[in-house]
Symmetry: C2
């Protein structure tokens, strides 16, 4: 399994962000190799989103997907004051899971 | 670089959590191979913390550190309704960084 860690700080105001974010979540779920994602943003605008994928090829295809490219452009230009992307190979995962189906999203 | 993704959902109430979390943040920073961490928790109690380390050996040493072991025990028993740990090898990282020094913490 692979993970993409997206750490970001939003600019002020929505400016189309909310609608696009919802679209991107729905779109990512249709991509080959998509496993799931977790996303948290606090009141200060700082957020971490981690998406999990089968293979690095799936991550590349998602990064290059046309609508996602548009979203990334807006992200760089107006939605994020700062962001960082880390592409990772998950070598071990464990935990205590009581989450309901769908609650992770 | 390696990353530990800690995804969690807090139980209700503080119950010593805040004080221990502060201690663990300070302690982690003294551990060999520690690079930095990012942490976000929203009002619902859902959180993602990512710590970055030089080597997997550094991650193992941190997991086995005595005070951290105590914190992990309390975490399992009372502070977290659910949690998940993913240990990852970061193969690529990039972004747009305007963060002030220290602001990441």
């Amino acid at each position: 399994m692979w993970a993409v860690i997206f750490t970001s700080r939003r600019t002020e105001g929505d400016d189309g962000y909310g609608e696009m974010a919802t679209q991107m979540v729905e779109l990512a779920q249709t991509m080959p190799g998509f496993i799931r994602f977790d996303s948290v943003r606090d009141a200060s605008g700082k957020g971490i989103t981690v998406s999990y994928w089968r293979d690095p090829e799936n991550i590349r295809a998602w990064r290059e997907q046309t609508d996602h490219q548009v979203a990334q452009k807006y992200g760089r230009e107006k939605w994020y004051a700062d962001y960082e992307v880390a592409v990772c190979n998950v070598v071990r995962a464990y935990g205590k899971k009581n989450l309901e189906d769908g609650e992770r999203e």
